[in-house]
Each structure stands twice: as C-alpha cells, then as structure tokens.
Symmetry: D3
Subunit: 265 residues, 6 copies
Amino acid sequence: MKRLLVTGAAGGLGKAMRGRLKSVADTLRLSDIVDLGDGQPHEELFTCDLGDRDQVFRLVEGCDGIVHLGGISVEDKFSKIMNANILGLYNLYEAARANGMPRIVFASSNHTIGFYQQNEYLNGDVPFRPDGLYGVSKCFGEALAHMYHDKFGQETALVRIGSCMEKPTNHRMLSTWMSRNDFLSMIECIFRVPRLGCPVIWGCSNNDAKWWDNAHVSYLGWKPKDNAEQFRAELDATVPRPAPEDPIAIYQGGPFVRDPIFKED
Amino acid sequence: MKRLLVTGAAGGLGKAMRGRLKSVADTLRLSDIVDLGDGQPHEELFTCDLGDRDQVFRLVEGCDGIVHLGGISVEDKFSKIMNANILGLYNLYEAARANGMPRIVFASSNHTIGFYQQNEYLNGDVPFRPDGLYGVSKCFGEALAHMYHDKFGQETALVRIGSCMEKPTNHRMLSTWMSRNDFLSMIECIFRVPRLGCPVIWGCSNNDAKWWDNAHVSYLGWKPKDNAEQFRAELDATVPRPAPEDPIAIYQGGPFVRDPIFKED
Amino acid sequence: MKRLLVTGAAGGLGKAMRGRLKSVADTLRLSDIVDLGDGQPHEELFTCDLGDRDQVFRLVEGCDGIVHLGGISVEDKFSKIMNANILGLYNLYEAARANGMPRIVFASSNHTIGFYQQNEYLNGDVPFRPDGLYGVSKCFGEALAHMYHDKFGQETALVRIGSCMEKPTNHRMLSTWMSRNDFLSMIECIFRVPRLGCPVIWGCSNNDAKWWDNAHVSYLGWKPKDNAEQFRAELDATVPRPAPEDPIAIYQGGPFVRDPIFKED
Amino acid sequence: MKRLLVTGAAGGLGKAMRGRLKSVADTLRLSDIVDLGDGQPHEELFTCDLGDRDQVFRLVEGCDGIVHLGGISVEDKFSKIMNANILGLYNLYEAARANGMPRIVFASSNHTIGFYQQNEYLNGDVPFRPDGLYGVSKCFGEALAHMYHDKFGQETALVRIGSCMEKPTNHRMLSTWMSRNDFLSMIECIFRVPRLGCPVIWGCSNNDAKWWDNAHVSYLGWKPKDNAEQFRAELDATVPRPAPEDPIAIYQGGPFVRDPIFKED
Amino acid sequence: MKRLLVTGAAGGLGKAMRGRLKSVADTLRLSDIVDLGDGQPHEELFTCDLGDRDQVFRLVEGCDGIVHLGGISVEDKFSKIMNANILGLYNLYEAARANGMPRIVFASSNHTIGFYQQNEYLNGDVPFRPDGLYGVSKCFGEALAHMYHDKFGQETALVRIGSCMEKPTNHRMLSTWMSRNDFLSMIECIFRVPRLGCPVIWGCSNNDAKWWDNAHVSYLGWKPKDNAEQFRAELDATVPRPAPEDPIAIYQGGPFVRDPIFKED
Amino acid sequence: MKRLLVTGAAGGLGKAMRGRLKSVADTLRLSDIVDLGDGQPHEELFTCDLGDRDQVFRLVEGCDGIVHLGGISVEDKFSKIMNANILGLYNLYEAARANGMPRIVFASSNHTIGFYQQNEYLNGDVPFRPDGLYGVSKCFGEALAHMYHDKFGQETALVRIGSCMEKPTNHRMLSTWMSRNDFLSMIECIFRVPRLGCPVIWGCSNNDAKWWDNAHVSYLGWKPKDNAEQFRAELDATVPRPAPEDPIAIYQGGPFVRDPIFKED
C-alpha cells in the first residue's frame, strides 16, 4: 500500500499502532484533533476535526486504505459523540466515496453489545445491545458502513475491539484483551484479502476465556497469537477479583453499563 | 390512558392516525414542526423542533404514552436527518427518562433492512441492512431504544413500518402495506400488554405476500385484519408490473436502494 | 379403542374430561386417590395410590390407552410430589411396559418452562426452566417418557398443559388457556395418528396472544378451535390487569415462580 | 403469457392440468412421449422424447414459460430414469438457455426427501434424503436448476409435489395431498411474481396434518385453499388405517422407501 | 476457599479427586455412605446417607463450595436411585439454600443424553435423551439445579461427565474420557469465575474424537490438556474394536442403552 | 483391510495416493480407464470403463473397501460426465450392494457448493450450489449415496475435496488445499471408525484461511496436520494476487463458476 490513513493517531491506541503500522504502507498519514508530535520521514501529520467535512475530505484524498481509530472512545456527552462519531463518520464515508473508496478498518467496539452477559457466547450476527451513548454511536457506524457497502461497494472491516492495551488491567480483560501485535496482524489480513466485504470481526486475542466467536471470518486467515491468560497470575496478585454482583463480572461491556447519560453543560 | 403524545402529527401518517387514536387516550397531545390546523377539545397542539432539547422536554411532560411518528421519513440530506432523527430521538428519550418513562411506540422503518431481497423471509433478529441515510438513522434509533431499555427499563415498541397508507399504490406494497386500522390495533396491543420489553414489530397487515415473520411478538395478541391482496386487481389495472431488474421487484426497501446520498446545500 | 384409562379422574381437569372422553373408548377406566362418585355403565372406577406399584399394575392391566392426569398438580411438599409424580410415574411406565405399552397422554405442564419470560416464543426443543418442585417433577416425567420411548418403543404425548379450565380467570390465561374441547380433540388426534413417537405438545387453544409454537407437531393434524381472546372483555371488567412487575405479567409460569419450597411437616 | 409449454401432458397430472392451464396463456404447447389425443384450437401438440436433444430444442422454441411435468414419475429402471429425468432435464435446460430462458416450473418430488420421518417438520433447506432412484433423479434436477440459476440467471420453481390427485386415496395423503386447483393457483403465482429466483416450494394444500413449511416462499403470495382433512371420514370408511410399522405410517416418502432397485432387462 | 465439601468421596472418582482437590481449599470435608478410611489433617470425614435430610444439613453447614460426586453412579434399582439421586439431591439443595448457597459442581452424566448417536455433535442445549433410570435421575438433578438457580440464585456447574478414569478402557472412551487432572482444572475454573450461572459443561478432555461442543462455556477459560488419542494404540492392542452393531459403537451412552430396568427385590 | 479398491488410480490424485494407500490394505486393486503402468506385488491392475456395468461388478468383487477417485474430475461435456459420474456411480453402488457393501470413500467436490462466496463459512448441511455440470454430477452422487445408506445401510464418506495437490498453486488454494498426507490420514479414520454413516467431510487441511467447518465429523477423530499458509510467501512471490472481481477471489468454486456448458461434438 502506498498511503494509509490512520485517524485518532494521537490517542492511546493510535500511538501504539503508529509505529507498528509502518510496515503496512510506504506512507502513513496520521490525523488527530490534538497534537501528533514530531513526524517521521514516512509520516504525514494532519490536524483534523472529524466533524468538519472539508477537513475530512482533504484528509482522505490520496489514501489507499484507512484505519479509523478517531472519534470519542469512551462514554461522553451526546453533543461530542454526535460530532465526532456520527457526523464525523458520515464525513469519512463521503470522503472515501469521493476518493476511490479505499478499504476501511473501522474501530467499532464491544460496547455495541455490552449488555450481553459474560456467559453468553456471541457470533457476529447477534442483535446490538449497546451499553451507552458511545456504544450507540458505534452501532450507527456499523449500520452506515453496511449501507455504503450494499449501495456503493465500499468495503469495511467492523472491528469490535475489546481492550487493545499493552496488557490486561482487570479480570474482565482476560476475555476482552487484544494485543497490539494481534491487532496489527489482523489489519494486515484485512488489507491482504482480495475481497473483504463488510464483516464484523471480534477484536480479541487468542484468550483462554473467550466470549466471541470469529469462525465466520475464518476466510481472513487471521490467527491471533497472544493470550491474556499469561497475565492472570499478575492480575490476581495486584487487582481484587470482582464481586459477583459487580457489572465487571456480569456484563460484556463491564462498567460502561452503569455509566450515566452525561450531562451537557 | 390519560394523555398520549403523538409526534409528527401533521405528516401523512400522523394525520391519518390523529382521528383514530382518539379512542386510546383522554387527551391527545399532538406535535409537529409544521402547522397542525385546528385542535379538537381532546387535543393539545404543540409546535416542536425535535432537535431542540427544551421544546422536547416540555412536549413530553405529563404524557403517559408516546407514539413517535415525528422526524424525517424519507431519504434527505444528512444534516436534516441528523437533527430530527438522531439528535431529536436522543432528546425524546432524555425527556421520557425525565418524565417517568412513558411507553414509546417508535416508528422505525423497513428501510433499516431495505437491502434484503424480497425472497428472503425475515424474523426480528436479522442484522440491519439499511438502504440509505434515513434507514441508518432508524438503526440508530433502534439501538438507542435498546440501550435505554437495558440501562433504565424504558420500554419501546420498534415498529418497522412497511407502507402505512390508505391503500397500496404499487406492487411492492402488496407485501409492505399496513392498513391504518391495523396500525391502530397494534398500538392498542402495545399499550395493553403488562410488560412490553423492547421488541421489533414488523408493521404490515395480514397480506398474502409476506416477507416478515411476527411470530416472536405473538405475546402481544395483535392480529392484523386487512390484506393488501384485495387491491391486487386494481393495481394490475392501473400500475405497470415492475420489471424483474427494477429495485422495486428485488429489494425489500424498493426504490430507496437506488437513492443517492443527498447533497448538502 | 376398547378401554381407556384416565388417572386423576376426580381432579378438576379429570372431572371435566370424564364426560367428554366417553366418545373415545368403549370403556373408561377411571382412577383417583379420592372418591370418584358414582360410575356410569361404561365406566370402571378404581381407587389407586400411584405410589403403590401393585395397585398401579392392576390399574393398567387391560387398557389400550392412558390419559394420565393423576398426581400432584400444584406446588406442594417434596415428599408428596416424589410419591405421586416421581415414584408414581415410574410405576405407571413399568405397568405400561408389562401390559403391551398402551399409548400414553402425559399431562406435563407449562411449569417445566415457567421461568421463561412471556415475551419469549418457545418451540418444543427449549431447555427446561422449571419454576418449582412440581415443575421439576414434570421434567423428570418427560425425561422418563423419552427413555421408555428410546429403549422400549413406548409412545407418549408430552402435553405441556397451560390452563385447562372452563374459561380464563386471569390475564395470563389469555395466553395459557386451553379449552377442554380443544384438549379432547388433541387426545383424539394423539390416539388416531399411526405413529406418535414421543413429542412435546403445547397445551393451549388457538389464542391470539400466544407464547408457544406447535409447528413441530403439525403432523398430528390438531387444530384447536377456541380462543381465549373472547374472554378478554369479561376479564378486563372483573379482574385487575396485572402490574408490570407482577410475576403474572413477566413469567410464563406466572405466580408459581414465587412459590416457596414447601416445608415438610 | 403467449405460449406456455406443458411437458408430460398425457400423464395423470398432465391431463388434469391441461384444461386448467388454459387460463394462464394464449397458447398451450403440450408434449408427451405418448399420444396426446385431439387438440383444442389453443393447443399445440408435440410428441417428444426428452432424451432427444433436437426434439427438445424444437419443443421449447418460442415458449414464454414451461411447466415441466414430463419424465418418469415413479420408481423405475435406472436406464429409463437416466434418459428421461437426467439427460432429459439437461436437454430442457439447454433448450431454455438457447431460447431466452423462459421461467420453469419443475415438478420435483417429495421423494427427494422421502426418508425423513412423518413427525419431522421440514423447511426448504433440509438436506436431501431421497427414497429411490426416482427421488435421486429429482435431486439431480434441483441441483441442475440451481446451477443454471447461479450461472445464467435461469429462474425455476422447484415444486416438491406431494400427491397431486383428485383426492387423497390413503391416509398418508392427508398430509401430502395437493389439489389441482391449488397447484393451478401456485403456478399462477410463480408466473406472476416479478422475481422468482430458484426456490423450493412444497407442493401440498392447506392440510391440517402438515409436514412441510412454506414460510420461506411467502413472498409468492400463494394461499392454497383446499384441505385434505375433508376426506378423512371417507378414507377411514374405505381404507384401512396403516399399521404403525408400515412405511406409509413412518416415512414421508411412504411405500417408495421399500421399493427395490429395479432390474435392467 | 476455606472448606470444600466433596460427596461420594469413597467412590472411584471420589478417591481419585480426594488428593487432587487438596489444593483448592484449606479444608476438605469428605462424605460417603461407606467408609472413607483414615483422614488427613486437612480433611473432615462424614458418613452420610444423602436420603437423610438431617445428615445432609449437617454435612453442608459451614462449607464454601460443594463437589457433588455422591449418589448412585450406574444403572440400578429405582428405589435406590430415587433415594440417593432424587431425594438426596433435593436434600442437598435445601441444605445449600439454608447455608448461604455455596457454589455446587454437580456430577451429572453423559447418560442424560445417551441415546444420541456417536455421529451427532452436541451443544449444551440439546433435549435430554437419557438411556436408563440413572440417566433420568441426572435429568431430574439438572432440572432441580436450574430451578434453584432461577428462583434463588444458587449457582451450579452441571458437569456431564463422560468417563473420568485413569485412562480409557474401551474404544468409546476415546471420545468420552476426561482425565482427572482435566477435571481438577475444570473445578478450579468453576470456583474461580466471578459469575458462574448454571451452565452445562461437557466433561471430556481435549480428545481428537469429540462428540461434544463446549464453546458456550468458553467464558470459564477451561482448557483441557489431555487427549485420549494417546491411548489408542494401547487399546487397539488390548481390546477388540467394537462391531458396528454394538451399542458401544452406536450410542453416546454406550452399553447403558441396553441395560434393563432393574428389578426391585 | 485385505483388499482396497482405488478407482481413478491413473489420475493426478490417484497416482499420488497409490503409494500412500499401501499401508491401508494388504492388496490394492487399482483401476482406471487409461493405462496404470506397471504393478507392484501388492497391486492388482484393472482397466475399467465405469459406465460398463459388467466391468464394474468384476472390479468390486472381493474388495473390503473402496476409494472412489474415478470419473471425470473437471468440467466437461455432459455426455462424458453422465457416463462416468452418473451411470458410473450407479454401477459402482450396485456392484457394492451385490458384494457385501464395502465402505466407500467418495471423492465428491467443493464444486457441489462452488457458488457460495468465499466469505461464507459453511457447515456440512448447506444446500447445494454447484458451479457446473461436473458439480451437478457430484450432487447426484451424494444424493445416490444417501439413498443407498438409508435404504440398504451402505456407508459412504462424502469427501468434498478442495484442492488435493502437492502444494497450492494459486491464492484460492490457501483455503481449499488438502495435503495428500492429510487425505491419507482422513481415509484411515474413515475405515477405522466402527460406524461411519454417510457424512459430508470437507476435504481441506488445517489451513489458517478456512471456509469449511468439520465440527460435525469430529467423531472421526481426524486432525489434519498441514497448513497451506506455509506456502503463502512463495505464492505471493510467484503468482499475482487475484483482483477483487476475479471469480477466484469471490466464489468458493473459483474459476469453475465461469466455465461455459461444454458443447457436445
């Protein structure tokens, strides 16, 4: 690939992938609404408010692929979520449509299905059960992607990321954790397959304690190699096990299920 | 019921239901962004922009039930859809939450699944396949309703209306048509059942040529009585049968599937 | 049929069926642990404790078919349930096996699945979710019947009776009611079909508000003719509608779900 | 329709449909390998061996639709079945492909699934379980039709006919019977729908005792009106009920399951 | 865990687990109806007839968890099975309810589904098909556990043990074998997970030749490590391969399917 | 096994298996319509036209097992396919029936389902979607095998071979490839299991990029050991990646979907 756009590149996940994605494309175009620091020779840095159509169109122009990590990634006020995750996503898809429809990796979320319980084993077809406004905005995003696929042929990988962090930091993440290297190899598979379509992909590593079934995307050939289980002893030693009535022990979305609706100012 | 709010009461469907819903509540509170004409003694008329939070809160106050027909009901510019169907719906659910969570009948749409083909028989659990921005906004609405149900207990009937008109006006509507009397009896069932939950209900009459299976909401006891088939001869006499390659003959969403993305001004 | 055994013939349902079943067999052998009143010429009356093996063997001898309504039919002490519904059922199947394996209509119960919610639509294959010791004893009975079928070829209709009464007496029964005439016609179909097997049959009339799907036993040709809906107005006028948090409005098993475990003396 | 080809028009079913199909097309082209008797003004009579490619090409030329009842319709020697039902069907599809791909109603058979038991309720997706060489040839036919649909767009209705006779003549037919008027109305629906695709349609009337679920072809709007149940009393009076171990009481394919493989001369 | 109750500790499986379970709790309370031999310092020995309510209540008092291996574990007279496995289980659950509802590992059995054939691949939701009175008693047990879970919140792991032995002793066990170390690690997972619920768990090792799918309990994080395949050569050398018509080659329950009903004395 | 018949032994796959199968039986009877070269001491060589009944009967006589690789294995004229794959298969099954019904490994094909897309994950029960006349002939073969199983008890493994070659030669084969050693171990499992039945087995190795689910035949204990992924780098270096609109990138059957119907001479 010549030029890969990575949005949200200054966020936690963005920073972690910025270096790793170097191998995927000659040039990385990085964007965020906040400062991206110094660029490398193979990097192009853009400041961009996803809610601003013109900025987004300029951002997408000339890219062969998009890893869309941008937008709000936790529960927040609806006005902010609507600007970044709803209007912003619409802008992104319109910009992609105007620019040859580069394949998109869309960072969707387990919070689209956060109200399922942890003892339910989910395939990629289960109805949405979002656990907050953030999760609802990701449901919007998946629906939008499906529509652009059915109507125009735009391909998107709908990656329902669990917890893509350096390592699990609580017991729930023994199930939801995806290592960044596994995310990288997933992205490589997504851009490698001749026909992608618009599949849901559960974003977790090869964890022993699993809630999600990726059999339906076996055609990608993605084989995650890491396993959160290796961190269990460390977690047991440092973090109290959740009580049985704690949302972190009941719901797939964990503590998000008890987040309130955030007040506008 | 003492007071039932009907939004979108000046629209095509709203006008048709305004009279019929009289039997359901002592008082009908009617709202629209356009003029509602003269009120009857049992009616309260409100002009309301659904995108205006304060107006919506005043609108919902004191109501025991809501039939939400308001918002944009065809393909349109995203800015308009976002204001009325996304921000507007969020406002409505926040207002309901602040006012005792009256049960909501949400006019969702077959355009949430418009890209399924007509020879596919759908239950209430199929993944979304919206056919345009309007359909995507209704997917958002259904996801939002699920979240308010799971998080707060707010009950909503997600009515995926086919074509609720006086009578079918093209051959596709032989499958999608719902008579207004059948819609009325559905609303009565929705408000009658002790526990509603948050079910998807396919909004069509007892048509011979059926695409949608309502078995999962049998508990409501709703038995539509009309059948679009009675209009087939009339249609055959007045409307050309669609060609096999016409979207109206292929997709459940009919012509919406070929609507373009509307340009902002 | 020459001789049909009806157990539990002095119970509420037994009394109601005693007259109706006259048409099904030349002779009705009626049994109960309590007094059966005066017999008709076509009737043979037996007092029988189902827990007494010898009595049960004598009871079954010479019968061509069995309608097993006997045993405990509400929540009770486990010792009583165990004697009548567990030991009693074992005795009945052993007696049947010793006597040519006459076909059995087993009065199972909706209380085998009483913890499903009313907005769940059940087929005949759903896992058990009994709502009390009575329901558990009926699960035992269904399992026992399956085993005698698989091992010996004994055929049984596992009729999960809803509410087989003269008419519905509360709002839950608008879904669970089975008229006695519909039960009679079901029994006729069960004895008429050349091969019965060991199917679950949901015991309800053709009610508008339905929770149970009998499609899998369509081969029986049973078409219930009554509909609890005809009693709705009368119920609305005489019985308060259940509150949304009342088990009668939530669970298929209704008030049984909150029954305690009965204390032994 | 201008010209409808009906093959097998001198067979039992062909004769019965010959008059009824008059209403469907201006001209009926009738073919059989045996004599078709005298023609009517709206009829064109062809003698045709389906195994003869040139004859079949001439037969199909100029037709707008095909009702293919021809070929062997009971168990027979493989050489005869191969010529008429395998080579013959290939010839028919090649002829259709060369002549504008007129829509085809293919008389498939319940003998494609005859080894399912009568207490199994089948949808249109169940794997084949043919009960003889005849049934196997119909499986071939359905597979061939699917291939021509996927590859070339040829549309076929795969009608798995039960027993299309004047009336049921044994107890099994209380489930398998399809009245000829219901078959006619099915054919009308098949030619009426703008897009047919290549669906399996179970060919039975609206019988009380049902084994087959046509929900997946609801889009056709076909509503069979007859019911074999009306003949039960007459059957009970004239035909002995099958014994429980008789194939007629066990298997959907009835006595075909015990047919031997026919010897070649 | 402070104190773990292990019932049936003098049985074959009990003896094998007695040592292994030492690591799971500070104190092991061991019970059986027969002699338990000498105790270790961390052991408390109880003689207990499960059919005796008072004994069972005393047994359960003060325990934090229960591994219930007790009762009859092969086909036997119904009177014995009823006392130990039906009355005994009721007593155990009542005792647990009176003592803070410690989590229970219930040794259910593959004989609850023994009449499924070996080429059927089962998930945890399949209907029961018990192969004898013993299997029926385990169906009772599973139903009882579900009821206590739904009604009171009592958690149970319903472990359908295949063959938990030192090593497989016939060819059927190449599929049903569970090593005792794998059973131990399963028990550890059961007591470790914050919320257990009331799941069915298939009790077999990671055997190549598998009949049972544990995907639905992936959330436990249990990964069996042993594989019966390592014993195939040894079995082939020492045990004749079963004939194709031998129940051991046909049914999942193996020879149990041909056990008679045991006579009472 | 004493004598194993391998048909098609001079074909590409036949040659590759000829040596490997030596370990499975004392004697290999090898047949083909073309020259088989020189025989080994443990080999019996037969020239045989599968369409010739007498030759086939002689061929099968005295064999304990059959690996049927013979017939046409690519798209061809229907006359040739009909002779070898339809008449030939009928002859083979008749010959087997006359000779004690030795177990058959039938080389079916992925071309029975070639029109499914590559992002569909298939189990063994999906309806056929053949991609040409060759694929249709294999559907016939599977249906025939099912019939002989249901009617006479003849056992067959329906192996839907992907690409059984030395190594993958294009990118599609990264999913469809089955190593010959994996095929050998599959055949060993097929002849080893006491009861085979008539299962569909997907014929591919343990490839990362998988379209087919063999969970339903886990009872065979077959664990393929090879993985096409090891050849990806080599393929990327030597073969251009398919374009997204190339059938090789879309359909499971790859280029077969665009094969024409071959003209007869």
